[in-house]
Amino acid sequence: MSVTYLDNAATSFPKPARVYERMEKFLREEAANPGRSGHRMSVEAEASVESARALIAKFIGAQDASRIAFALNCTDALNMGMKGILKKGDHVITSVLEHNSVLRPLHSLEEDGVITLTKVKPNKDCVINPEDIGKAFTHKTRLVALTHASNVTGTLQPICEIGKIVRERGALFLVDGAQTIGVFPIDVETDFIDLLAFPGHKSLLGPTGTGGLYVGKRVEEITPWREGGTGMGSENPTHPEDFPFVLEGGTPNTVGIVGLAEGLKFVYDTGIDVIRDHEFKLMKQLREGLKSIKGVKTFGLDSVKQSTATLSFVLEGLDPADVGIILDQSFNLALRSGIHCAPLCHEFLGTFPTGTIRVSPGFFNSEKDIESLLNALRQLTKQE
């Protein structure tokens, strides 16, 4: 019996077939080092990377593709952004909903005495009130770092309203797009985003080991945390300051980047609205189904359209860790249980440290998959 994968918030699986095919072809026929050597293969590899960059720029409304740097993953991009711009004395505003990829770099900068930090709490539905962000400002606030949607509850955040406030107050706005890019539209211009970190392996449907950071024009200076070969300006003793090279020391993950581009092309060809509507349909079925199961408690805003295709729940009297294993072992359902790398969110929800069971279907899941999960939960809750 094959496994029903419902853990797309961690990484999407499967990928579109064309992603596998494109990556194989690239590795077998085209994988020269981009831009390092003058030969045709190198030039072609560079062109593949640059066309991927251009495609992403178009997708997020960035006017200058060179302001997008490829990264290892969203964590890498967030680190690049936050550590690259923050200076001693800066104040940062973030929220308790964040993933450790935002929290840990900020906590360590705080512990090192570089920044001061304010963590805003959302309302009971896990939505951050933009006014609370405004209220948290001090005269030293340099950055507001927020997730577009909680990776625990899936609840979308009003980034546009928040972005507007941040812009008015003269600070920089960093958005963690891990859970939304590829399904929910993000426009760095109209959403007032200065830095957008994103993974390539979630809803962009690319492989792991990919991601990127968009750095807007309002960011005047960014210090790279990785310096080295770039394939340009090699005669200079120090790392170039030009985008995207400033953030891209070392040979990039070319095969991953072409896979990411192919995933994004699939999103374009299928239509982001079609993908989202499919996920909405599954989540509607899931939310309604869970309501009829005794002892289920869900978290976050109970709205299909104001959430990503991610939902956290607990079953009364059962440890989420046990439920996760039983679903995998007895029902062939792959879900994540625990605290999902977002400890403060669980403290806020009152689910720390046992956490929740998280369901996150993707475009390749069907209604039958959701029904399998609901059936399993019905059986499970009948036990004792």
């Binding site: 440890d319 860790a321 046990d322 294993i325 039983i326 072992q329 007895s330 625990g338 605290i339 790398c341 400890p343 720390f352 440290p353 046992t354 956490g355 499970l380 036990q383 004792e384």
Partner: protein
């Protein structure tokens, strides 16, 4: 400079040893993996009889219930919460100051086993589970090092010498570990100390033969002994190498590469470790519940079995799932969790 071997005179007086072979024993290098019941007797015997370079690897700490049979430990070690490898080293150095004892407090597994066995003349098995034994078997076959298997529970013991490519290896006899329902452990079925002494003495005897350069004198087959009934049996001969053996004939080392064996992960924020197995089991909770009944409170349903128990003053909760997976709450120490799993569920 020639070492003083006079202290071993009573041993080399025996014609089959003699001075020259005694020197060979004293200059040999041995690794002992697992220093519990079998391991302490083996270490005690070998260090007294002249094995002067011994590496002891064990992940556990001395507990009061060990003293019934683990001869190198005492109540002070329990009070001091000493790792078994360290407590053993301390005793052995007092017994024989000429000996070089290296104590390694670690879980022997595929990531470190090759370093633990490479360059040794012999490896001795004092472990309590098949997962490690298969790993030892593969490492020793790969590096062509003889090793001596030993195991006992209740009144029963088993031992076997493995000389890679010359005698059957562990995988020639047992393709895979028996399922937990069929595997009693000392902690679930009890253990009589005389069987420990017998099996480890037999292991030690074979070790002395090998270390003194008389590998051809080692005994054949898998030797089984029941101490209560004073009854022995030997299965197989040196010649019965399985021509299809994946390990010693085909050199497919699945435990060494990490493809097979126990997998562990700590659960974030939980003081708990999850253990998974590579084999697809379908566990009968009824039999396991009977095994665990005297350990602690056991509850089960169609999907899981829970056992709450106390060990050395610490509370643990073991949750076992149908495929043999488990969550052990009460520790985030992976070695400790593996040890608990081996003791109560077995692998």
């Amino acid at each position: 400079m020639s070492k003083d071997i006079s202290r071993y005179q009573r041993q080399y007086l025996f014609p089959k040893i003699g001075e020259e072979r005694q020197r060979k024993i004293s200059s040999s290098k041995v690794t002992l993996i697992g220093c519990g019941a079998l391991g302490t007797v083996i270490a005690n015997t070998l260090v007294r009889c002249g094995v002067e370079n011994l590496t002891i690897v064990d992940r556990d700490f001395v507990e009061l219930n060990n003293l019934q049979r683990q001869v190198l430990f005492n109540e002070e070690d329990v009070e001091n919460n000493l790792p078994k490898a360290i407590a053993a080293k301390q005793k052995l150095e007092k017994i024989n100051s000429q000996a070089n004892i290296e104590a390694i407090v670690a879980d022997a597994n595929y990531s470190n086993i090759e370093n633990l066995v490479k360059g040794r003349d012999l490896v001795l098995d004092g472990t309590d589970n098949f997962d490690v034994r298969y790993t030892i078997n593969e490492a020793c076959v790969k590096h062509n090092i003889p090793w001596i298997y030993g195991g006992c529970v209740g009144d029963q013991g088993l031992t076997m010498v493995v000389i890679p490519k010359k005698t059957p290896c562990l995988s020639c006899y047992f393709q895979s570990a028996p399922p937990p329902e069929l595997t009693p452990t000392c902690d679930t079925a009890g253990i009589l100390s005389p069987i420990v002494n017998i099996v480890s003495s037999l292991q030690s005897m074979e070790a002395i033969k090998i270390l003194s350069g008389q590998i051809e004198q080692t005994t054949e087959g898998l030797y089984s002994y029941n101490v209560w009934e004073k009854r022995s049996q030997v299965f197989g001969t040196k010649q019965e190498i399985d021509p299809e053996c994946p390990v010693c004939q085909k050199e497919k080392f699945e435990y060494l590469s990490g493809d097979k064996g126990m997998r562990t992960s700590t659960l974030c924020g939980r003081n708990a470790v999850q253990i998974s197995r590579d084999d697809q089991l379908k566990i009968d909770f009824k039999i396991i519940a009977e095994k665990l009944e005297h350990i602690g409170k056991v509850t089960s349903n169609a999907f899981l079995l829970k056992c709450d128990f106390n060990e050395s003053g610490k509370d643990y909760e073991l949750t076992l799932f149908l495929d043999g997976r488990a969550i052990i709450k009460g520790t985030n120490d992976i070695s400790r969790a593996k040890s608990i799993y081996s003791k109560y569920i077995s692998v």
